[in-house]
Subunit: 199 residues, 2 copies
């Protein structure tokens, strides 16, 4: 890794970590630079503003999430609906690991930013909106595969997948509010009962 | 209303309004005082800190929510499950009215604070946790009434009511992220399909 790439990577990783543990507004450029060991001038060489860093961090985090967790959860080695349960199991293990390490459930990094910033920053809002729609798409594919295999009643697969993304986000928020990963283990399977009938 | 009560009321209302439109961290005591037309010394007479104001504001907002919206939505003049749909209709109209006025969907005032503050402030987290559990209780009653009337399959009414609160919060977050109240109208009815079977 070149030094330039290494500096940028440290800024992205540090921003992700600090925003996730606290909030966007609570963390400033100065603190990000300090913790990443990067000079402020160097920060502004890579990112014109904290918002630009945040958008780059969202892109980067989402790509990592897709390539690791989502690819593993949705791999077609098990029947379609079991893949959704596997995603829930991973969500539970993630919250448990974070709580083990920090004492807190931090929730969903994308949902946290959406909740904090959507009414104040159209660029960040639009980016998280696209992430949620990128998560909805493979869930919709799974529902269609399950319906074709006769494992599901007839439903509006697009709307049901959107409902499932909303529920996933609601679960993460409840786990955070209760500081209890077990919320996901206990209430997660109900996600498979969500159904929007065809119009 | 005495002047003391009037000052306190203005501080509570202003804090609620500013936190809801933006965030906890983005709004300081000075700005709250300025907008409420209250001197800083007077603020600290009523509230030792911004956190104390926030807890009082949460109590006050939740009481108002219960006495107005929730009482109207859950009034027993219609069958139990229709009351849940009436709450969803109210949520939709609320987001629509706020968007009409401000251009934005602000989401759920309780969920916003929970998402922003739960990993950083145990007092605020505990207060919102109690609010969610106070919302879960009447939903559980409605589910039990519906089950007794034969309108529902056998289910774990407590866990299903918790799942419904999670879904409500997820819907508000999605409406905020999409800046579109229609998310609630389109996906809301699926809440009634959520079911956690008995253990």
């Amino acid at each position: 890794m070149t030094q330039v790439h290494d500096t940028k990577r440290r800024l992205l990783d540090t921003a992700r970590e600090l925003f996730y543990a606290r909030s966007y507004e609570d963390v400033g450029v100065q603190e990000i630079c300090q913790q990443a060991g990067v000079k402020k001038g160097s920060f502004y060489h890579f990112f014109p503003s904290k918002r630009d860093l945040t958008v780059a961090m969202l892109d980067d985090s989402w790509q990592q999430f897709q390539e690791t967790l989502l690819a593993a959860a949705f791999a077609p080695d098990i029947p379609p609906l079991e893949r959704i349960q596997r995603l829930l199991d991973m969500q539970y293990r993630h919250h448990s690991a974070v709580k083990e390490k920090t004492g807190h459930v931090f929730g969903c990094p994308f949902g946290n930013l959406a909740g904090e910033m959507s009414s104040r920053d159209e660029v960040i809002r639009a980016r998280v909106k696209r992430i949620f729609s990128d998560l909805q798409a493979p869930i919709q594919n799974i529902l269609e595969e399950a319906a074709a295999a006769g494992d599901l009643p007839e439903l509006d697969s697009s709307a049901t997948a959107s409902a499932m993304v909303a529920y996933l986000e609601g679960l993460s928020l409840m786990a955070k509010t209760n500081n209890d990963p077990d919320v996901v283990r206990r209430l997660g399977p109900a996600m498979l009962s969500l159904a929007v009938p065809p119009a």
